[in-house]
Symmetry: C2
């Protein structure tokens, strides 16, 4: 099969690298010039649990021409519409598209470009880092869950899960993946935005009594909005999951801190807390904590003149 990785940052490189070790062809797509040039010239340099340099084709999304069997979406949330626009030419009638982006609401964007029966939604806890152009740092073990959006096309989902498992990506076909997507979004929605605003680690946030109050209020808003959308969410279970994650990740600054504070990049807030608020507004549910934290993050982007 011909597999495109649409968005070849750290996670895209991990998936591309691991899939390239199987009996499938992989093409990386990205828009970062230095990254493309480094991989074209020197191959992808993998460090961490393995040390290896692999030759992998990489190009800009608009340069791809061969029809894809599978496209794995790994862009930043706000880059998704442009990516789908740019890769129209490689999307055939049988092309499956697996979305592994963080956040909520991506299926609504994807449906504008891909027929429902070819869409697979997923969520992963694999991690990866970029050490520079063409250099991916891969450490630790993860897993992913995925599901066909069209219940009549579960076969497609199982085939993709098989392919990913051959690449040791620990994929599970999940007949109810949406709660898992929400649960991960809730982890991000409690830690990312708050740690970015407070310029602190996850452990520092959760060590503060008032930080915990906010975390619980945000979880509550995610749960009531998700439930109103028909997603099976258990507030107690999610709270426990968030707390467990906070302990494991205590010393980390979450990705939104890296984006907003460290690198002055636009954040994915609209697809995390912002998405819950937008969905809440449509459903007539008030979600002031998600709304205010979204406004604070956007105000901070404006103060930093990030565009």
């Amino acid at each position: 099969m011909l597999v495109y990785i649409a968005g070849s940052g750290a996670m895209g490189c991990r998936f591309g690298y691991q899939i390239s070790k199987t009996n499938n062809d992989v093409i990386l797509l990205d828009n970062w010039e230095d990254h493309i040039n480094a991989i074209k010239e020197n191959g992808l340099v993998v460090t961490g649990d393995v040390e290896e340099t692999v030759k992998l084709p990489i190009m800009k999304p608009t340069e791809a021409t061969q029809e894809a069997d599978l496209i794995i979406l790994f862009t930043k949330a706000m880059q998704l519409p442009q990516m789908l626009q740019d890769i129209k030419g490689i999307i055939g009638k049988e092309t499956k598209v697996l979305c592994l982006l963080n956040g909520l609401g991506h299926e609504d964007v994807i449906r504008q470009y891909i027929p429902e029966h070819n869409i697979l939604m997923g969520v992963t806890v694999w991690t990866a880092g970029l050490e520079g152009p063409g250099r991916a740092h891969l450490q630790g073990v993860g897993a992913l869950n995925l599901q066909s959006m069209d219940p009549n096309n579960q076969d497609a989902g199982h085939q993709v899960a098989d392919l990913l498992n051959k690449a040791n990506l620990n994929a599970t076909y999940d007949e109810n993946v949406v709660p898992n997507i929400w649960r991960k979004a809730c982890v991000n929605g409690t830690m990312n935005s708050t740690c970015a605003l407070l310029d602190c680690t996850i452990g520092e946030l959760f060590a503060s009594e008032d930080g915990l109050k906010m975390v619980k209020e945000i979880i509550h808003e995610f749960v009531i909005v998700g439930q109103a959308e028909g997603v099976e969410l258990n507030e107690e279970e999610i709270t426990q999951y968030v707390m467990d994650t906070s302990v494991k990740a205590a010393h980390h600054y979450p990705s939104m801190h890296q984006d907003l504070v460290q690198n002055h990049r636009l954040t994915e807030i609209d697809f995390i807390n912002g998405a819950v608020n937008t969905k809440g507004e449509k459903l007539g549910i008030n979600t002031p904590y998600c709304r205010m934290i979204t406004e604070l993050v956007h105000a901070k982007e404006a103060v930093l003149n990030i565009q």
Copy 2:
């Protein structure tokens, strides 16, 4: 008359200095050792619109023994109970106490120490700065409004207003001072906490679309809680006042930014947004923006290990 200034920071020094020019005795009270020693040794050095050094008695609150005719309260909000405790010895049956602190709810604290008929509540737009121990910088013109809490003791309020006017402090006896106190608290509640969290100037906050959304939501919460307490507040008028103030003060970092970000000191958040949330809870009114901003500021205090 013998006038004590209870809390002789920048504003206390201004009032003490100006009143000392009249036919009244002034004693400054403060707990900052360097400040006390500087004023004892060299007098109070005034710079800005006037350049002068004046001899003024200063001591710790617990050292004051002469019964006061008037005490002007100018502490930080959270220092008020301790100050009132410390100066019990100078509070006589006829001692008037004028509260000019920022924020809401101080009258409840003062009532525990002072009989209602001797309490005067006020609000001032005078400003001042401390350049170091014993050095006050006074620039610009201000005014203040005050009112007797006990409507049967308006004479006391008028007498104090007269005294302050002799010191050119532009005092007005205001038969409805409470809305003015709330209006100033609302200015602080929209700008101080948000600019402290976003580490930005007032102008930067108000230039951001999302910043403005928050400002309007916070104003709304102040107004509905104040109105429920019986305070005459006009949302449109207050919004206009906040907007006008934001233009005049565009280049400034508000005082809570100075406390939290610049000097890592505890903030007065519990007496501004926090007070509105506490009052709202008692009244059954939900004020999530005031609540969350209070939690964020306290979480930041915890992250910075401020105690």
